[in-house]
């Protein structure tokens, strides 16, 4: 068996492959649904209905998509330069820590100043925590996959320590949670009385900014060159290490915004379950979008829809809601195969 490069695929082909990957995923997960004793068609119908069947469902999906857009962008930016940032979870929590550290009254500022300050500070913290692995990679040749993964555990323990200590809410009845951020530090809701908040708007804006950076700037070009062939990039005079550092700063900062927006827009405070694995799910979101920043928005909404819809389905159809995680993981694997098939022809001989 060998792989032969294909000519550049047309737009229609490029767009049809993610769909093919999703259809394959649905077929594969149907087996599990059948094993669980339910009918796949009714289960998928219930998932779709739970995700987008009403105004409430749709808003819930967009709310859930917001942190995924940020972590998906963070991963897309990093993976483009082949910086394997698997630590978006840690960067997200760093953003959350900074948001409550500064947003619970330490900075008595009006909202229009405080919110940008919190965003910048959160991004700085997230960037900083990814800078370590990036330096270790470029200076010492330590594979960043393991260091970023291990940092996820360290940062979560650090959060736990802070919530037992300096950030503990004295009125929290002993629960490990922080105080709520002050009213000025809260992102307003998009519609009064609903959960969807301005974090979603910021996420869309971030996707647009990242799209401009990757497609229209020198840095974006350099990132792509480094990701495509680091040796070649070095040969033509691209400062590879510096590009990787900038990529790390951007990626870490984006993931930290997920933590900021969850605290400031949705939860109000920091807890140990601020993220149910948004950092890891961001990897799937980014891959489904083929690392395209605007595609990240669509794939984040799709993935969020699966989770929101599966929760609703699980209550109705008695299929464990973990089916959502299985679908997301399977779509990651089918997607990488689909991307391969857009570029190569498999020839058996």
């Amino acid at each position: 068996m060998r792989l032969e490069p294909k000519p550049a695929p047309s737009l229609a082909v490029t767009l049809s492959f993610p769909l093919a990957a999703i259809v394959t995923t649905l077929v594969l997960t149907s087996i599990l649904v059948l094993v669980a004793g339910a009918s796949p068609l009714s289960v998928f119908y219930l998932v779709a209905k739970g995700a987008a069947g009403s105004q409430f469902a749709l808003m819930e999906t967009l709310t859930r998509a917001t942190p995924l857009i940020f972590t998906g962008l963070a991963i897309a930016v990093a993976f483009r330069a082949r910086l394997w940032n698997i630590g978006a979870e840690a960067q997200l929590y760093m953003g959350g820590i900074v948001t409550v550290a500064l947003g619970t009254g330490a900075l008595p500022l009006p909202s229009f100043i405080l919110i940008p300050v919190l965003m910048i500070a959160a991004m700085a913290a997230g960037a900083l925590i990814l800078l370590g692995p990036a330096v270790l990679k470029t200076r010492f040749g330590v594979d960043e996959v393991v260091t970023t993964l291990l940092l996820n555990f360290i940062v979560l323990l650090f959060v736990s320590m802070l919530l037992d200590g300096v950030l503990k809410d004295p009125m929290g009845l002993g629960w490990p949670q922080s105080q709520k951020v002050i009213a000025e530090a809260q992102l307003p809701r998009l519609i009064q009385g609903k959960r969807l908040h301005y974090g979603f708007v910021i996420a869309i804006a971030a996707a647009a900014v990242v799209w401009v950076i990757t497609k229209k700037t020198l840095l974006g070009y350099e990132m792509r060159a480094v990701g495509h062939n680091a040796e070649g990039a070095r040969f033509v005079g691209i400062p590879v290490n510096r590009v990787l550092m900038k990529t790390a700063l951007l990626s870490g900062g984006l993931a930290a915004l997920a933590g900021f927006s969850e605290v400031s827009g949705l939860k109000g405070n920091l807890t140990l379950d601020l993220s149910p694995g948004y950092g890891y799910t961001g990897i799937v979101v980014a891959m489904l979008a083929m690392l395209n920043p605007l595609g990240v928005v669509a794939s984040a909404i799709f993935v969020a829809g699966i989770f929101v819809g599966a929760d609703a389905m699980s209550r109705a159809a008695k299929v464990p809601s973990y089916i959502a995680d299985v679908m997301v993981a399977t779509s990651l694997l089918t997607m990488v195969v689909a991307i391969l098939l857009t570029r190569f022809k498999i020839r058996w001989r």
């Binding site: 068996m1 060998r2 792989l3 599990l32 094993v35 669980a36 993976f79 394997w84 698997i86 270790l136 010492f140 040749g141 330590v142 594979d143 996959v145 393991v146 260091t147 993964l149 291990l150 940092l151 555990f153 360290i154 323990l157 650090f158 736990s160 320590m161 037992d164 200590g165 890891y280 990897i283 799937v284 891959m287 008695k318 464990p320 973990y322 089916i323 995680d325 299985v326 997301v328 993981a329 399977t330 990651l332 694997l333 990488v336 195969v337 391969l340």
Partner: protein
């Protein structure tokens, strides 16, 4: 008890060897994969699946050894998935590995909820009991630490010997090492690089699953969510720390486990002055430190993470 006294107590070393056992299995598994040229980031999920498969087989009425066989088979299946995607198809080993971890973990949790829908506290099984080796277990400290363990721990040590012997003393081992260093030379000998690599990943994944199964059939007596808790990633660090050599990796695993056992005891005598989370962070921080110390002079298998295509130079 004094912080130093701990190091001379037999119970401390017994615990250290017990903590090391799952790491030894999984580290050997990862080592085989990487020696053949494939980074297997599916390790965390494969350990989770192995832990569940071993436990559930016993819970459903199988005996403990059957549980281990089932766990190894489940691990091998996930290994086959990883190998198929990364070896002949040459897909990114990073992305596929994370995908396999996510898939194995979520499938395990799904299956758990499907089989035990109403359970709130995980049901218990009768785990492996210690098998003191007559005579040897009477040697103070060292004998107690090494020879009053469950059979799986002996098997873990045996796996190191088998892996080392196979890698360095058999033609198959030579082919595995060459597949990770210079695959075209393997192909020139008329041996299929694809076959060698896939076989290594499947066998390695079976060992990883045994590492997971150790937790549910020897260390604890039930399965709970998040039970692997980063042990897989630590094993990847241990492989680097051991410079891809089974013996060195074994020493690394024991040192690491000793440190882990030590921090638990230190936590007790520190009397709460230092937050307990600091102690829990130490194993992860230590893994990063080990990577930094070793990475400079580490000699990676030269073809690690580089897909091989037949006929390509």
């Amino acid at each position: 008890m004094d912080a130093l006294d701990i190091l001379f107590s037999a119970s401390f070393w017994v615990a250290a060897i017990r903590i090391a056992s799952p790491l030894i299995f999984a580290t050997m598994g990862e080592l085989i994969c990487e020696r053949a040229g494939v980074l297997n980031l599916g390790i965390e999920g494969i350990m989770t699946a192995g832990a569940f498969a071993g436990w559930f087989t016993v819970y459903a009425g199988g005996d403990l050894w059957t549980g281990l066989v089932v766990a190894a088979l489940v691990g091998a299946l996930f290994g086959l998935l990883h190998a198929t995607l990364t070896v002949p198809l040459g897909l990114s080993q990073h992305v596929v590995g994370i995908g396999v971890t996510l898939l194995a973990t979520s499938l395990t949790y799904f299956t758990y909820r499907l089989l035990l829908p109403e359970v709130t506290s995980p049901p218990k099984i009768e785990p492996f009991q210690p098998w003191p080796v007559p005579g040897l277990s009477k040697i103070p400290v060292v004998g107690e630490a090494l020879f009053t363990q469950t059979p799986l721990t002996y098997l873990a040590f045996l796996s190191v010997a088998v892996v080392a012997w196979t890698l360095y003393r058999t033609p198959v081992g030579l082919a595995v090492r060459a597949a990770g260093e210079n695959p075209s030379a393997v192909e020139a000998q008329g041996i299929s690089v694809t076959g060698i690599r896939m076989g290594a990943v499947v066998a390695g994944s079976a060992l990883m699953a045994l590492g997971g199964a150790f937790l549910t059939t020897s260390a604890f007596n039930s399965f709970f969510f998040q039970m692997i808790n980063g042990r897989g990633w630590i094993c990847i660090a241990l492989v680097v720390f051991g410079s891809w050599r089974p013996g060195k990796a074994l020493i690394g695993a024991i040192l690491f486990a000793a440190f882990d056992a030590y921090q638990v005891r230190l936590q007790q005598i520190s009397g709460g002055i230092v937050p307990y989370q600091v102690f829990l962070m130490m194993p992860y921080a230590l893994s990063i430190l080990a990577l930094i110390l070793v990475a400079r002079r580490a000699t990676y298998p030269k073809a690690l993470m580089i897909p091989y295509q037949k006929g390509e130079r």
